[in-house]
Symmetry: C2
Subunit: 415 residues, 2 copies
């Protein structure tokens, strides 16, 4: 069962909008066993729409389009589909009632643009849009089906979830597609691949391997596209073997952020946390508090960007700053002990580094970063040499700090 996604909109092609719709749709289609072979983004032009639809219907059983069905003049998808499927727009009483009710509820009167929303292609099945005025449409041609949905993510997702996906599940006998993702941190891709070479060569042919690197983590993905049900024991074995080869690098067997894994550890161990951040500028605090319920364990943070704040709020002695510098083992150890003490927490993370682009010296080039973590009375600190790019350095420092604490907490209950 193959599918193609077509997203229509100049704003995507000129990069003003990132195509999150395609990512979400790809994920959802995969979950129900439909693989996406191709995603195409095209302009709001009739010729381009005709060509993309024509090509997609030749190769795919399911084609899903988004965009260009709103009320304004630049929305031409509905008309283009009429000309492609050789049909015409007809007035729909039902659609009109919906649009009228929708608009009136918001204290306005139906205007000309709203009225146009009540016209739909004669030979399509209308997919009602309960949170907007642009309805989805479904066309069939031969053995293929084409859905045209709004481009507004929330509206698209609601119609997909409530109408398109259930219909696809019930219409086809879909074999499951399985993806398992193992999250790793701390080993660069080429070295990870080297360590895993024998393991990779021993994978059953049905299991496909992919490495997904990012500045934060490397995800190892195992995919099974055919006969997935029967391969599950081998998948489990492969993942167990992976844990034996790189136990120090794996922080999750499911697609989970490090901040979520760390917060779960803190919850399980009943430990509180605070952070003292210099070059990360509050990013660690921001990541941890992005997880719902973080307030149970996360107490707070001091962002000490300026050295005076390190002295005044985090008790880093002036002599330490003068003798060792702000980016030093002595400084981060003072920071971590101090924030843990003042915030009365069980654990803490402290980071001080040179994010760049300026501020580097010969002894401490841009990217030099010291990180300390504290759990109860234990303090561990480590020096990192990241690269030359500010954004990447900040990300890596935040993730390295969380990962150091994560590693200490792995053995916490065993102590």
């Amino acid at each position: 069962m193959k599918s193609v996604i077509i997203n229509i909109g100049d704003e995507i092609l000129i990069g003003q909008v990132v195509n999150t719709n395609a990512a979400w749709m790809g994920e959802e289609l995969n979950k129900i066993g439909i693989s996406v072979d191709k995603t195409i983004v095209i302009r709001d032009r009739e010729d381009d729409i005709h060509q993309a639809v024509d090509e997609a219907l030749k190769t795919a059983s399911v084609v899903i389009m988004t965009g260009g069905i709103g009320p304004t003049n630049d929305d031409i998808t509905k008309e283009s589909l009429c000309s492609y499927f050789d049909t015409r727009l007809v007035f729909s009483e039902e659609m009109y009632s919906h649009v009228e009710a929708f608009v009136k509820k918001r204290g306005r009167e139906v205007n000309e643009n709203n009225l146009m929303q009540a016209y739909v292609p004669e030979n399509c099945t209308v997919l009602p849009n309960k949170i907007g005025t642009a309805a989805g449409m479904k066309f069939t041609q031969g053995n293929s089906v084409l859905y045209s949905l709004p481009g507004i993510p929330f509206e698209m997702k609601t119609i997909m979830r409530e109408q398109v996906l259930p219909e696809l599940v019930s219409s086809y006998q879909l074999p499951p597609v399985i993806h398992r993702t193992i999250m790793t941190f701390g080993i660069p891709e080429a070295f990870l691949a080297e360590k895993l070479k024998d393991w990779e060569n021993n994978l059953p042919p049905e299991i496909q391997l992919a490495y997904l690197p990012s500045p934060r983590v490397i995800r190892i993905r195992l995919s099974v596209y055919e006969n997935a049900g029967s391969v599950i024991p081998q998948l489990d074995d492969a993942i167990s073997a992976l844990h034996e080869i790189i136990p120090e690098a794996i922080f999750s067997d499911i697609e989970q952020n490090l901040e979520e894994v760390l917060l779960n550890q803190l919850r399980n161990c009943k430990l509180s946390i605070s952070t003292a951040e210099s070059c990360t500028g509050g990013l660690i605090a921001s990541l941890i508090t992005s997880i719902p319920g973080a307030s149970e364990n996360f107490t707070g943070s001091v962002v000490a960007y300026n050295n005076n704040i390190k002295t005044q709020m985090l008790d880093v002695p002036q002599e330490v700053l003068e003798t060792y510098g702000a980016v030093s083992e002595a400084t981060v150890e003072c920071m971590v002990k101090s924030v843990k003490k003042h915030f009365h927490t069980d654990t803490a993370i402290a980071v001080s580094g040179i994010a760049g682009p300026d501020g580097g010296t010969k002894e401490k080039p841009v990217g030099t970063t010291w990180i300390a973590v504290a759990v109860k009375d234990k303090v561990i600190s480590r020096k990192f040499m990241f690269g030359s790019t500010r954004e990447v350095n900040v990300q890596k420092a935040a993730y390295s700090g969380m990962f150091m604490l994560h590693n200490v907490l792995r053995n916490f209950n065993k102590q």
Copy 2:
């Protein structure tokens, strides 16, 4: 001058990675007058790569590909391009020296995977990658040119910026395409469109208008695709008129983040800043410090997630918390004054709200947020009612806080 972007990678199609590369590339190509007609995302399969390349080279003068040129076995783009362009991989001394130096600098030895990175297609021009081991490649066919670049965003961007874009600018006579983007905050889209209706109807036909909403800001984009040079005066007039209609909502006439605009204001006014954050969890500090050079003006922050920290580090009296609650005008005013005083800054932002999903009450539902800003002796505070989604609430609170300070600073020099 037309172009097609091809992004290779199963991880994009299954929605594991959002295609931010295509957005960035589309934006940069547009800036130099190259319009992107189509973006295609395909799987890591030789047949699919051949077909996409073939089709793209038939219609576009410039084809840019990303992905699949890393060191692991699932990276098959280099081999697929060799078979498409009927060439073979050859060992490059130069590439090997680069890879060796790169790997050794990071304290490791060259392994077999690294070694493979030193092989490049015989008939391509190598585009060195100074921040990674996978070089870019350039192939020509007839009047078309194809670039194949790494999929890792930072590496792709660096090669684009330093090699591909300058080469395209110098190779072609490119007619300008003009996009002007006005950044607004604080007026919902429907009301913005209503306020701007007459203005929109009076736009010259050559100027195309688009509204691009996001949780943070609404961007108003004016585009001119033909004879752009002669329309510049009308564009300037349209933007001036816009400023007269919604002066309170516009924070930039160029595509700039609010944090960057705010930091520039602080620089120009020679003012320092600190923040006291509860529900935003350090996000404001993190946004401001994402801008290079932030340390000149940004001093630090207290993230007071727990009420004890509000009392202890930010002098919020226990009675205030008991009488008015943590999410109240009295609390945020204490917070803003206190952080400004302790951090010895000229300005400060304080935020306290209920981000959700839990913690709401009938009187103070999820989304209720108080924000205070201080500039010298002046303190302004305001209550906001955001929605029910944690992530959106945190984003909106951070942006609202920065926007309040931005608005006070607009008139700072005039005082």
